[in-house]
């Protein structure tokens, strides 16, 4: 991770956890030859597409807002 300001770091941790839970981020880190940052951007794009958001690959405020919505605990990607 780059150096984040306080608050921003918490956002990144929230996003990382969300993508681990619902977009298979942790498992794919080992499979795909990408850095954590690249993989996170790829997964963010996938998430943004699913939710009809602007696909930026970045954790913009709208993406964070959708991530904080109540939801089903089943992941959005298999398995």
């Amino acid at each position: 991770f780059p150096v984040f300001q306080e608050g921003h770091r918490q956002d990144v941790e929230t996003v990382w956890k969300y993508l681990e839970n619902y977009y298979n981020l942790g498992n794919d880190t080992e499979v795909k030859n990408l850095s954590g940052k690249e993989l996170m951007a790829e997964k963010l794009k996938e998430m943004q597409q699913t939710f009809g958001l602007k696909v930026t690959g970045k954790s913009d405020p709208e993406t964070l807002r959708v991530m904080s919505n109540p939801r089903c605990g089943v992941s959005d990607v298999t398995p």
């Binding site: 699913t50 009809g52 919505n69 109540p70 089903c72 605990g73 089943v74 959005d76 398995p79």
Partner: protein, 368 residues
């Protein structure tokens, strides 16, 4: 169709279910009814049947848990993760777990147990999440209203796994509007604080100069107290208010809140005669404060300043709005024009010349 990897599905069509425990926030009978109703969502559209068992574990076990409950998917207290379910299979397969810490309801208040159960049972039967915001299988909890209708995408996906319902009358579901595929018809259209909002079924389509693409979402996300399938909507911009109509009821809204005293009936509030049972379309002419209500082939005029119906109405639409036709689905004002919509066509009516000067497809506002 998007289903789980390896296409897990139940190989039998008759499944049993059992309810292990209950939330203390609802009477047991309400939980039982909510769960039974959720099973009917899926049995109505497939050959699957479900029956409850009491003395043994069902194929699908439904239960409420708090926090870590030993399945590697801990719950997290109120909000956020509401529930989860396991894909078809023996043992834990098909089971549904609810977070005991949520406030479960049988109303439109968060979180409606029937709605969440119906979603989770989709997973129990083998469906993954959908990216169609109108689908039951969309991952986020969306606003629940009493007139729940399964989305056609959910029907297509479950029928891809289990086949169609044996019912001679095949069920059809609601569809999410596809803005650019072909011209659409609309239930209602209004300006709203400098933007234009189109209404179709449970959805709104918001068009703003600040956004390159229109925003499609559920009406309930913006206005939880409003019903879907509205008849008409208009804005009184000088009062920063909008009126929403369905049948003979009207809701006055400012920002996201329904005003006190609403919904009420159109007879006592506007002075319509009892023969008027609905409003097809409405628009307030900003410059004059006169609101036009279109009902079948006639229109009424209402004065927003005096709060009274103008005398001499109703009149025939065809007489005063030539070439617009005899029926209006939706209308709104943009600058010096009224834009009338009927089926998939829009008519631009010049308020100066009182003539239609352009006829186009209805979806020209979506930057297709």
């Amino acid at each position: 169709e998007a289903i789980n990897s390896n296409n897990p599905r139940w190989t039998k069509t008759h499944l049993t279910y059992s309810i292990l425990n209950y939330t203390p926030l609802l009477p047991r009978a309400v939980v039982d009814q909510s769960i039974a109703k959720a099973f009917r969502v899926w049995s109505d559209v497939t050959p699957l049947t479900f029956s409850r068992v009491f003395d043994e574990e069902g194929d699908i076990v439904l239960s409420f848990y708090r926090g870590d409950h030993g399945d590697n998917n801990p719950f997290d207290g109120p909000l956020y993760r509401l529930a989860h379910a396991f894909q078809p299979g023996p043992g834990i397969g098909g089971d549904v777990h609810f977070d005991l810490d949520e406030r479960w309801t049988d109303t439109s208040e968060n979180f409606n147990l029937f709605y969440v159960t119906a979603h989770e049972l989709g997973h129990s039967l083998g469906l993954t999440h959908s990216n169609d915001i109108g689908a039951l299988m969309f991952p986020s909890y969306t606003w629940y209203v009493d007139d729940f209708v399964l989305n056609q995408e959910d029907i297509n996906r479950i029928q891809a796994l289990y086949g169609p319902s044996p019912n001679p009358i095949q069920p059809t579901g609601a569809t999410t509007p596809r803005l650019c595929d072909s011209p659409l018809s609309f239930d209602a259209i209004t300006t709203f604080r400098g933007e234009v909002i189109f209404f179709k079924g449970r959805f709104y389509i918001r068009v703003s100069r600040a956004m390159p693409e229109p925003e499609l979402n559920l009406i309930g996300i913006l206005w939880p107290a409003l019903p879907g399938k509205l008849d008409a909507v208009y804005e009184v911009s000088m009062a920063d208010k909008a009126y929403f109509f369905k049948g003979n009821r009207v809701w006055a809204v400012r920002e996201q809140s329904v005003q006190e005293g609403f919904p009420t009936d159109i007879y006592s509030y506007f002075g319509f005669p009892s023969s008027v049972t609905h409003i097809d379309a409405a628009v307030c002419e900003e410059e004059t404060g006169k609101t036009y209500f279109f009902v079948d082939d006639k229109y009424w005029r209402y004065d927003e300043y005096n709060k009274t119906m103008d005398s001499g109405y109703p009149k025939l639409i065809a007489d005063d709005f030539p070439r617009v036709g005899n029926k209006v689905d939706a209308v709104f004002q943009n600058k010096g024009y009224f834009y009338f919509f009927h089926q998939s066509t829009q008519y631009r009516f010049n308020l100066q010349t009182r003539m239609v000067d352009a006829i186009r497809h209805s979806n020209t506002w979506f930057n297709c």
